[in-house]
């Protein structure tokens, strides 16, 4: 091999590695709509690479063979779109594996057929409303995270209905809340109310605050418990992934500890 060839092969490898890293970052923007966590963090991306021709090859896996096909479809389609948009990717080959509806989903996504067409006779509506439902839940759960931190820092709970987004402490929880509100088209400027009804965007009034915060807390508990079950099931199905422990339950404890650390950091 000549010096020039070696150098250009090295340059190519660097470039491919750069694209592969960009593909991973793109996948990190895709969330499980139900759990509101990134696929990369959940362990749902089992493989990703970029070939010499610039084809991005991505393989996804889920906690069970029977995970809901509607959510599965959204994740595969969102991954396909995110990866296709990465500069340097010429073609996307994104496939879900080990799932009862994998063929229908993979074929439908690759053909950009839409959900109804991919499951002809079995589905009557696209998934926009389902996605919006879960974004509203994400707003509720996020409201609990942000408000809980405010109360812990000494803000009286009864004052929360009078606060705006600018009054909340900066940090990942607030950014995430604003991001989800933005996606839903809800008010998300600094001067907008901190606590809004996710269905209408109206500020929650003081007399409705207690009930609203109760629902926000329950929504967060539900979402996080569900995420915990899914992570545990994934670890049972694919032993040894993502952690040093070999059982689902130790893995679960690791994940919980990580979450605790993150919670304590802000």
């Amino acid at each position: 091999m000549t010096m020039t060839a070696a150098r250009s092969a090295g340059a190519f490898t660097d470039q491919a590695a750069g694209v592969a890293a960009a593909v991973w970052s793109a996948l990190a923007t895709v969330r499980d709509p139900e759990l509101d966590d990134p696929l990369t963090e959940l362990g749902f991306v089992s493989h990703h690479e970029v070939t010499a021709e610039g084809e991005a090859v991505v393989r996804l896996r889920l906690p069970t063979y029977f995970c809901a096909p509607n959510f599965a479809y959204l994740m595969v389609a969102d991954s396909y779109d995110a990866v296709s948009a990465v500069p340097g990717v010429t073609k996307a080959d994104v496939r879900l594996e080990d799932h009862f509806a994998a063929d229908a989903i993979n074929t439908g996504v690759a053909a950009r057929a839409g959900f109804v067409e991919s499951f002809r006779g079995e589905a009557a509506a696209e998934l926009d409303e389902l996605r919006a439902d879960f974004l509203r839940k994400a707003v509720l759960a996020g409201t609990d995270r942000v408000c809980r931190a405010l109360v812990a820092s000494g803000v009286d709970q009864s004052r929360l209905a009078h606060l705006t987004l600018a009054d909340a402490p900066e940090g990942p929880d607030l950014w995430r809340l604003i991001d989800r509100r933005h996606e839903l088209g809800l008010p998300c400027r600094d001067s907008d109310a901190l606590i809004v009804d996710p269905a209408t965007g109206e500020a929650v009034q003081p007399d409705a605050l207690r009930m609203h915060l109760g629902l926000a807390r329950a929504t967060r508990v539900s979402q996080e418990a569900n995420s915990g079950v899914c992570r545990g099931m994934l670890a049972v199905r694919y032993p040894g992934i993502g952690t040093h422990s070999s059982t689902a339950n130790e893995a679960a404890t690791d994940a919980e500890r990580e979450r605790d650390q993150r919670t304590n950091q802000h």
Partner: protein
């Protein structure tokens, strides 16, 4: 009966099965679904303590002897309630049918409560079957799967006229308890099959029936809690909550129990082990030992009393099914009892 620290608990397992998912029961051409289903159940077992895990082969089909030992001899259960699951589209003889459950009910009449099931899409024939089941076994409860597909139909709704006819028939036949599966499901594909609004409607229109939401609407506990708080005749079936969270996710177990107690209260929670996904023994022992931790994270939630645990583990279900609870296992009677006239 379970005894700990001088306290005695009457244990009702509100959710049990006697299934056959062995390969010889798989419908030809549907093997991948029959196999996928039982493997999915088996993976759930992985969320329990390692020493309670079974091999897949044992899990596909278990004997009467094993069930009697696990549930009653080792598991402290006094009475277990069968909740049938037909799944005849994948399993030739069905997965966990009323008829299969009845084999054990007939042999051990005092150990089991036998529930049946109905599907309003079966019309008059289904009503006659419901009558026949009640006539034959004296069923006091039904287990319903509203999300089940049938031909072109993509599930059904408790608010429909057909369902109302069946609920009226339940009332007429003396069926009191309607267990509705609102938990992990597959179909309908494009819907959120965990929607509990139809339970809300039926519970309002049939105040004399009790509606037990199995798996508490997991993974949508918040929707369930928000509905149940408004309906006095709605209960939470704890199958999966204890088995799936208490060991594997203790922090979330605390919080989910905290929410259920906050919204529904201790009189509305019904223990269920979900055998053979999980054995009752570790669940009963763990639940009696469990309490809400004192840390700040759980400060919104109250402590759970021995009395509350007795209700959740058995006395609430005993009340729903008129089970005979030995005097020593009942709650202490209030000192001042009104005199019977």
């Amino acid at each position: 009966m379970y005894e700990k620290n001088g306290e005695k608990y009457f244990v009702v397992d509100g959710h049990t099965h006697f299934w056959d998912a062995s390969p010889r029961n798989w419908v030809p051409g549907q093997e991948q679904y029959a196999k996928g289903w039982i493997e999915c159940f088996h993976a759930y077992q992985g969320l329990g303590p390692p020493e309670t895990h079974w091999s897949l082969e044992d899990f596909q089909k278990y004997s009467e002897e094993r069930m009697m030992k696990d549930v009653f001899d080792d598991g402290y259960v006094d009475v277990a309630i069968f909740q049938p699951t037909n799944l005849k589209q994948w399993y030739t003889e069905g997965f966990n049918t009323v008829e299969r459950n009845a084999i054990l009910k007939e042999k051990y009449p005092d150990k089991f409560v036998l529930n049946t099931t109905f599907d309003p899409r079966e019309g008059d024939a289904g009503l006659r079957k419901l009558e026949a089941d009640v006539d034959r076994w004296g069923c006091k409860g039904v287990k319903l799967y509203t999300a089940e597909w049938r031909g072109d139909s993509r599930g059904w709704d408790l608010r429909s006229d057909d369902a109302t006819r069946y609920l009226e028939k339940c009332r007429e036949l003396g069926i009191k308890n309607v267990h509705v599966h609102k938990g992990p499901t597959i179909w309908p594909l494009d819907k959120d099959a965990f929607d509990v609004r139809d339970v809300d409607y039926a519970a309002t229109n049939f105040p004399e029936l009790n509606f037990i939401v199995e798996h508490v609407g997991l993974p949508r506990i918040e929707d369930f809690c928000f509905m149940a708080v408004q309906e006095p005749n709605v209960y939470a079936g704890l199958a999966v909550v204890v088995g799936g969270l208490m060991h594997a996710r203790p922090r979330f177990f605390n919080k989910v129990m905290g929410e259920l107690l906050f919204w529904l209260g201790e009189d509305k929670l019904i223990f269920g082990a979900d055998y053979a996904i999980w054995e009752p023994k570790w669940q009963v022992e763990g639940f009696v030992d469990w309490n809400m931790p004192d840390t700040e994270e759980y400060s919104d939630y109250g402590k759970v009393s021995v009395e509350a645990k007795k209700k959740i583990l058995g006395l609430n279900a005993a009340k729903l099914y008129d089970l005979d609870v030995p005097a020593e296992l009942r709650l202490d009677q209030p000192a001042a009892q009104p005199v019977a006239s």
